[in-house]
Amino acid sequence: MIIENVLTAVSELATFKTLFLMTIGAMAGLLAGAIPGFTIAMAIVLTLPFTFGMEPSQGVATMIGVYVGGLSGGLMSGILIGIPGTPSSVATTFDGFPMARNGDPGFALGLGVWSSFFGGIIATILLVAIAPQLAKVGLEFQPWDYFALIFFALTVTASLAGDNMIKGLISGALGLIIACVGEDDINGVQRFAFGNDFLGEGFAFLPVLIGLFAFSQLMSDVRDTASARKSLTDMGDVRVRIEHRRAITTIFSDWINLVRSSLIGVFTGVLPAAGSAISNILAYDQAKKASPTPEKFGTGHPGGIIAPEAANNATAGGALITMMALGIPGDIVTAVMLGALLIHDVIPSPAFISEQPTIAYAIFIAFFFANFLVLILQTGALRGFVMVTRVRMYVLASIILVYCGIGVFSLNNITNDMWTLAIFGVIGYVMRTLKFPLAPMILGVVLGPIAERWLSRSLALSTDVTEFVTHPWSLFFLIASLFSMGFSFYQKDRGKKVWALWYAPLLMLALTVPLFMMGGMVRPVLAGLMIVWAAWMLIKLPGNARSIRAA
């Protein structure tokens, strides 16, 4: 069955047209990733209009090409000019740029390129192994559990806003409100329309997304005339040869770092909304802590390039696991893919892999293949990146602004979508200026209607709200939501304040309750192990508390 699905998916993808589209997508992703100020999310939303006319598997394969390309492209500018092309390559600059300045740019690029590749391959293996299993777990979910899962996704998103947690929460709630405008899916009643036809039609998801992300980003890029008129980089004529063999040998000798960073990447990607911008820094931090020479990090240490690059590419695999297995976007990019699949009437859910095996396996294969494609393109097109980074920002911004409008129009062939784009461009720009994170709002827009639908189904089955705490998975996600709301405080106070010592053991103990409720063999055993671990942490707590107080 699996072989049959794989072969069908391969036959779908192994056409000249699909391969050509994937190559173009990967190239576009690499270029967008290499341009400081552009994000992968922006690249992928700009690709969307082209995918409307394609077969679902073709469209998704193209977007995966952009996604993997964008994740890999950021390392070029990060290593060569010290400005990360995307937030996912921030940590790469810590050691990549010093190494390049120390006269070893070819080795630095080699490490980045091959770490990205290996990170992507490890993530593919995990994606293929975990997604179907997680989907089987997802099949146990009932409406209450789904609603709680989406609630969890929203709280995680907001809690990752860091110091601006309240702004993250407000942003997420505003996203939910935006999704309410227009005709209600369940009863067909107009909400927040005030008799206005434009509002009555509601806001299409993609114009909102492109407006919030791409349009507002362009406005930010041209705010300062002087920087808008500058070339993106002053790299001059770069003649660098990527040192492949040396890089591969070094990566293999530091394989623990590679595997650990890839696992961090996948795990971060699985969490809703925790994308590669976080995973690359987490992986760098862990690599530094585990290194016998942490003092050399920041001066051009190979481990400082391997860790973030492996992690950021692996994050894509993690995000795809959540999207394919549960129908919940792991990050902004998978939120866009989810939107694109919905346009093709493909609805990701736990039944997705079994009901749409061709598309599901096409995603697996496309992700696997995209890593090879990007490796080849990256190796051969270094001078192309240099040329692109010489373009002045205002030229790119002006052209893309018009492209956004035309692309959005092609979605439904109505000019209202172009107005929606502009309105949400303004809203996005204002939010950026006021330092409100945009990711929670986007996820609010995506997840709001889904959450409402599941809530409605739950209440249709039973009006008893205690069902939300008597269903084990629902209780599991509600407990996780509660703790995720305190996560940013925990992160801030960890190792500094005594209360933070209670966070992890209490979380584990609380989660054992739903695990025991689930029954069977594996989960109660897992709960038992968690109790032992939590007890161990509680035993060590007084000693740790004393050392914190002493410090």
Partner: protein, 169 residues
Amino acid sequence: MTTASRDTVVSIVLLLFCGFLIWAGYQIRDPQFGELPPAAWPKGVTWVLTGFCVVYFVQSIIADRARTPDDTAPVVDRAPGLIGWFRYYFNPIICLSLYFAFLATLPYFGTLIGGTLLVFALLSFLGGVTPRLLVIHALIAVISVGAMWALFTFGLRVLLPRGEIFPGI
């Protein structure tokens, strides 16, 4: 006396918006069927949003009170007052105005002409105006929008909006 910070002002605006949403929530028609009335979800979200905005407001007030007169304001590289604000955000304001003008004139100019004019106007506004630059900007505008228009019209078979002035394109 401490002045209200930007966060305080924003939180007040958000609270007013929440008030409006609460009122609007009660205007939603109830068809009297189904377990979850159409107004329930928006109302619930509105109340949650209001709660967050109250927390944001209180946090901002506390931060304002904690600020001593010696505290330096965050460094912003713009002149104070409305004119300073306008100058600081001049480029985005003009770009957005041009974009809205493009949308408003779309029924007359159509995508090809309107888009070309918009790109040319944006390039010239942002990049500066010299005879040489004007020629370069015109070329970039014609080639880029022309390519986009051709790609969508002939490649993707999208019927882009046409204008009354030049109905053929």
